[in-house]
Every structure is written in structure tokens, then in C-alpha cells.
């Protein structure tokens, strides 16, 4: 669902139009479920988080002062519900990612020039098999990202919240969002590049 439709739904709900209720619940329950499943790793916890978040959302819907803000507002409640879950995430432990670990690999040549070691990204085919493989690589990548980076990547790039909205959801400043997002993307880029260099080449030839 597009942002505009979502904002329209929030307006309709505030105006008491009951037909918006089911659509809102269906739309956001799967969004919150996916976010919290990727954050905590437990399916049952994610279903509970979705349920608890929606309850809180409806109880306090009139505190949403600007319907334009609905996605960030819902995710802020979801993030807090996620944190309340006691069970530890099954995913990657927290650690700092440094910029240096993502510097591209360079190989020196005799003439003093260096060469970038990189897969061929210029023509990622629309092929279904490769697309679903890339999806699988992203599934694994997201699971491997330490939580503080994972949450930023999910909110900024998957849910397409703005830098400011993400900062509000996570209670951090915008510089922290930018730094973490860049490292999370570099982490994902590295994984995808590895895949494209190894398995991807073979797949491309088969389907090409």
C-alpha cells in the first residue's frame, strides 16, 4: 500500500469511518509482524507484538496528531513492544560495524594502479530465479546484521521511513541514523557482491 493510501486510511479512522478498520488492521498487522519477526526472530513473539501494537494504536489513535505521520507513529509503538519481549533475539549479536571492514578490495598492479574487485552489477537480470535467490541472500543478510543496524535498514530502506522519522522511532539523532544506515547497506552490498561473484555468475549463465 502506498503512503498516500495509508494516510487516507488513518484519516478515515479518525473520522470514524468503520470501513477503514479492517484494511488498516490487515495492512499494519503484516507490516508490524514482519518488522518484529526480523527484529526478534520468533514467529510467536512477532504475532504478539503485532497484536499488542495494534491494541495500543487503537487505544491512543487520537494522539496521532498528524495522519501524515501514521507509519512512523505505528512503528514507534511496535519498536517499544518489540523491546518488551524478554526472549533474546535468535539473530546476530550486537557489535559495532566499522567503515573499514567494507572498504572495497583493491589489488595492486605493476604500474602502481589499483583494481577494484567487484562483481558485475551493471545488468542484474529481471530473471525470476535470480530475483528469488537475491531475496534469499537478503533474508540471510538481514538476520546477520547486528540489531542496531538491522532496525535502521528495515525502517529506512524496507519501510521507506525518512531519516527524521527513523530517528524519532528509535530515539536517536539523525546522524546516528545516517551512520548506521550506511554501514548496514555496505554490509548488505558486500554479501550481495559475494553472492554475485560466486553463485550468481553460474545462475546468470544458465538463465541468460
Amino acid at each position: 500500500m502506498e503512503r498516500a493510501a495509508e494516510i487516507g486510511l488513518a484519516r478515515d479512522l479518525l473520522d470514524g469511518k468503520p470501513e477503514a478498520f479492517d484494511r488498516f488492521v490487515d495492512h499494519f498487522s503484516s507490516k508490524i509482524f514482519n518488522y518484529s519477526r526480523l527484529m526478534c526472530g520468533h514467529r510467536e513473539d512477532a504475532e504478539e507484538v503485532a497484536q499488542e501494537t495494534l491494541l495500543k494504536v487503537f487505544e491512543s489513535f487520537d494522539q496521532l496528531h498528524d495522519p501524515e505521520n501514521v507509519r512512523a507513529w505505528v512503528f514507534r509503538i511496535a519498536k517499544n513492544a518489540c523491546l518488551m519481549k524478554r526472549r533474546k533475539s535468535t539473530y546476530a549479536p550486537d557489535r559495532e560495524l566499522s567503515l573499514d571492514e567494507f572498504l572495497p578490495a583493491w589489488s595492486s598492479e605493476k604500474d602502481g594502479l589499483t583494481k577494484l574487485e567487484i562483481a558485475d552489477w551493471s545488468s542484474l537480470p529481471e530473471d525470476q530465479a535470480i530475483r528469488s535467490e537475491l531475496r534469499r541472500v537478503l533474508d540471510e543478510t538481514i538476520a546477520e546484521l547486528p540489531a542496531i543496524y538491522r532496525t535502521v535498514l528495515l525502517l529506512r530502506d524496507v519501510e521507506e521511513l525518512s531519516t527524521e522519522e527513523t530517528a524519532q522511532v528509535l530515539d536517536v539523532n539523525t546522524d546516528a541514523v545516517k551512520t548506521r544506515l550506511h554501514r548496514a547497506r555496505l554490509f548488505a552490498r558486500k554479501k550481495l557482491d559475494q553472492y554475485l561473484r560466486e553463485d550468481g555468475q553460474a545462475l546468470r549463465k544458465v538463465s541468460g
Binding site: 498487522s29 514482519n34 487520537d62 583494481k115 531475496r135 537478503l138 530502506d157 531519516t163 550506511h182
Partner: protein, 93 residues
């Protein structure tokens, strides 16, 4: 793959590539980036791969779906919504 002299400038650009892609750099910094990328093929290639990474993340749809909401849980949501609406109507002029 392409060759060039890798220098400190590349490193500096590397640190702000996401901000460049998100149009969050100042006009001056953006111009500097474009000039650099224009003359540095490996950085251009790397930027392209990061841009595609972001595109893939945006298109990413987790395949797991939540189970249907139980009747009593849905009723709880409806009740909370009705209660909120009633309180809101009471407050509105």
C-alpha cells in the same frame, strides 16, 4: 573491473556514499562527489552497486505472513477503537 590510483579522496567519498544516494549531502559536497565519481571509474562502479543494493532492499518483501487474528483479539481491537472514537467525539466541539 577498472584501474586507477586509489587515494584518500576515494576514502572520503566512500564514507558519505549513502548520504549522496539519499540526496542528503549539501550542494557543495554533492558537486564534489559528482566530480570525483565522474573521474574515478572504480568509485562510480562501487556507487552503482550500492545504489542497486538499496533498490533490492526497497523491493524486499518478507514472505512469512502472520496467522489470522483470532476473533476475540479482533473484538478487543474494535472495542478499543470504539472507545477511542467515543472519547474523541466527547472532546471535539
Amino acid at each position: 573491473m577498472s584501474s586507477h590510483k586509489h587515494d584518500e579522496n576515494c576514502r572520503k567519498m566512500f564514507a558519505v556514499l549513502s548520504e549522496y544516494l539519499d540526496l542528503e549531502l549539501s550542494a557543495d559536497a554533492c558537486r564534489e562527489m559528482e566530480t570525483h565519481i565522474g573521474g574515478c571509474e572504480p568509485c562510480a562502479e562501487f556507487t552503482q552497486s550500492l545504489r542497486k543494493t538499496v533498490e533490492l532492499c526497497r523491493a524486499y518483501q518478507p514472505q512469512d505472513m502472520p496467522g489470522p487474528i483470532a476473533m476475540d483479539a479482533r473484538q478487543q481491537l474494535i472495542d478499543a477503537y470504539q472507545k477511542m472514537l467515543a472519547a474523541r467525539r466527547y472532546r471535539l466541539p
